[in-house]
């Protein structure tokens, strides 16, 4: 049952072949069995999940009209506030905090009857690309437990790829949904900026952050996308427009006549051979399905990484000022006579990890007078050039494509002491965030040299998210015929797996 797709599970629920309680229990059992090794979850809310499942079953029994994925269980990235459930964003500074309110994403999931099983591990405050920056230890890639599942939404990607959950929510500030999806052989989408409410999403870099769906298929991901997207008055940057028809696009999957642009700057040198090979093959498959392949030039993308690592740290240095030890979260050093400032400084030292401190300091530097124009100011201008490059490219092509990440999953510990090497892994995903557009990663096969998953990235203009699903579904179906079975069936069985 747990290896089915979310769409199949929803179908079985609708036909009365199973109940949400049974389905949820099966996944909770799987978590109990394999999460000792994978460590995808920071908190499993068995009681809450089963109560929610029983409620959906009761509503179904009464004949209520339910959402397409009502009763299907899900794993939630710990960056989203869920009322009464521990929410830490992977940081010690929020250990034990239970939010007094639900994020809009959680409200929408609950309204749709999607069962939230627990909170998944992540790089602290979503700062990282491997989940090793979590204050609670790393998550392990189900394909090879010595490797990272990517990040920052590595707990969510590992949960879905290890069949602990059919669906998961992540957040993507510089690639944190797409890159972990690529490294674990699943589908992940970063929706258009403003398409999914950020209300209750613990902020890292507000102009870049966006929550989005993970699934094992393009259709499953679309079904979840549709549930969480939509205008929200509680988020001033939320787009007030209808949700693109992502589910219909995922069901159609036709690329005949679609123009697909290959970004010259995001391939070749610096990309692992097996990654490039699988990417090129996927491109040929799309061409064989009737898509027209063109090459597009985005010269300013060469500076995207530099711009991102100024903009994101600058925004984070401001956003994370809220962790001041006064209203919630950790407080240390509150001894008689200690000033608020001393308590705040001691708390932030004890509560923040290395990478968070590094980015706050970098952002503080980039925003300081005398350096502002040269660093943050220049980065903002590069951002404009990247938006212009995309605009020109989208005149030539309906969607743009690249490998999602330059390499397959690397060993845990391999890059942890070399921040620049870690940052380079985001080179292909970052431009999407800077421009506020949407992107998807879907599995393109395994690299020959290490037999690890490779991700194929599709990008589309703002609020044209349906194009991702249209092209993604076409490629997925062609690859599936080629492989004969889903890619995840090639993943090694985890100990204890039935």
């Amino acid at each position: 049952m747990i290896t089915s797709t979310a769409a199949q599970m929803a179908d079985a629920l609708a036909k009365g072949e199973t109940t949400s309680v049974q389905l949820t229990q099966a996944h909770l059992d799987r978590i109990a069995e394999v999460d000792v090794q994978v460590k995808a979850f920071l908190h499993v809310d068995s009681e809450g999940a089963l109560a929610q499942a029983a409620d959906v079953d009761a509503r179904r029994a009464k004949g209520e009209k339910l959402s397409a994925i009502a009763g299907v269980p899900l794993a939630l990235k710990d960056v989203l506030a869920q009322k009464g459930v521990p929410t830490t964003a992977g940081s010690k500074i929020l250990q034990g905090w239970r939010p007094p309110y639900d994020s809009t994403v959680v409200t929408k999931l609950k309204d749709a009857g999607v069962v939230i099983m627990g909170k998944t591990n992540m790089d602290e405050f979503a700062m990282g690309s491997s989940t090793e920056n979590s204050g609670y230890g790393p998550t392990f890639n189900p394909w090879d437990l010595t490797r990272t599942p990517g990040g920052s939404s590595g707990g969510s990607s590992a949960a879905v790829s290890s069949f602990e959950a059919p669906l998961a929510i992540g957040s993507d500030t510089g690639g944190s949904i797409r890159q972990p999806a690529a490294l674990t052989g699943i589908v992940g989408v970063r929706p258009t900026y403003g398409a999914v409410s950020r209300y209750g999403l613990i902020a890292y870099s507000s102009s870049l952050d966006q929550a989005g769906p993970f699934g094992r298929t393009v259709l499953d991901t679309a079904l979840l996308h549709e549930v969480i997207a939509g205008h929200d008055a509680k988020d001033a940057t939320s787009i007030n427009a209808p949700v693109p028809a992502v589910v219909a696009a995922a069901k159609s999957g036709n690329v005949k006549g679609m123009k697909i642009g290959v970004i010259k700057q995001l391939q070749g040198e610096g990309y692992q051979k097996g990654v490039q090979t699988r990417f090129d093959e996927s491109l040929q498959l799309l061409a064989s399905l009737g898509a027209e392949i063109v090459e597009v030039d985005c010269p300013s993308f060469e500076y995207a990484l530099a711009a991102y690592y100024l903009i994101a740290p600058s925004e984070c240095s401001s956003n994370l000022a809220r962790f001041d030890a006064m209203r919630y979260g950790l407080r240390t050093g509150d001894v008689e006579g200690a000033s608020a400032e001393a308590v705040m400084s001691a708390t932030r030292d004890a509560g923040f990890g290395r990478e968070v401190k590094r980015r706050i300091i970098l952002g503080t530097y980039a925003l300081s007078s005398g350096y502002y124009d040269a660093y943050y100011g220049s980065a903002q201008k590069i951002r404009t050039l990247i938006i212009q490059d995309y605009a020109k490219a989208f005149v030539q092509a309906d969607v743009l494509v690249s490998p999602t990440a330059p390499t397959t999953a690397y060993k845990i510990g391999e890059k942890v002491d070399d921040p620049m090497a870690m940052y380079l892994g985001d080179v292909a995903t970052i431009p999407v965030n800077l421009a506020g557009i949407c992107g998807m990663s879907l599995p393109a096969g395994l690299a020959d040299e290490d037999k690890l998953p490779v991700g194929f990235q599709i990008m589309a203009p703002a609020m044209q998210d349906q194009r991702l699903y249209q092209a993604g579904a076409a490629l997925e179906s062609a690859l599936l015929s080629k492989w004969g079975a889903p890619l995840l069936s090639q993943a090694p069985a985890l100990k204890g797996a039935k």
């Binding site: 905090w97 239970r98 939010p99 007094p100 309110y101 900026y193 403003g194 008055a233 001033a236 940057t237 787009i239 300013s300 500076y303 530099a306 711009a307 690592y309 100024l310 240095s317 000022a321 001041d324 030890a325 006064m326 209203r327 919630y328 979260g329 950790l330 407080r331 509150d334 006579g337 000033s339 608020a340 400032e341 400084s345 001691a346 030292d349 923040f352 401190k357 590094r358 706050i360 300091i361 970098l362 503080t364 530097y365 980039a366 040269a374 220049s378 980065a379 903002q380 201008k381 590069i382 951002r383 404009t384 050039l385 938006i387 921040p419 620049m420 800077l434 421009a435 506020g436 703002a462």
Partner: protein, 99 residues
């Protein structure tokens, strides 16, 4: 090659209100040169006449009608407080002088 001394890092840490150990300061200052060199690439391009983008959406200020909506109760708002007293957040002294 850019660099940031241990004292520079200590000053920034002070501004960011993060107490740091000596080893953290030394480690950060040794990593910063490389990071600054990488991000300084934004200065390589000719950016004269290019407008800055602070946000991906061309949004104006978003306002809503000025009506009272449900919000957190005092109990909920205080539920995560490290310390509280008489339905208020209790905080360390902020003005430097004793009470």
């Amino acid at each position: 090659m850019s660099s940031l001394s241990r004292d520079d890092v200590a000053k920034l840490a002070g501004l960011a209100r993060i107490e740091m150990t000596e080893s953290e300061l030394v480690e950060l200052s040794s990593q910063f040169g490389m990071i600054l060199d990488a991000v300084a690439r934004v200065q390589e391009m000719d950016l004269s006449g290019v407008k800055a983008t602070s946000h991906p959406q061309p949004l104006e200020n978003v306002a809503r009608p000025d009506v009272v909506l449900p919000s957190l109760s005092p109990e909920d708002a205080l539920s995560g407080a490290p310390a509280q007293e008489e339905s208020r957040f209790r905080v360390p002294q902020i003005l430097g002088e004793a009470e």
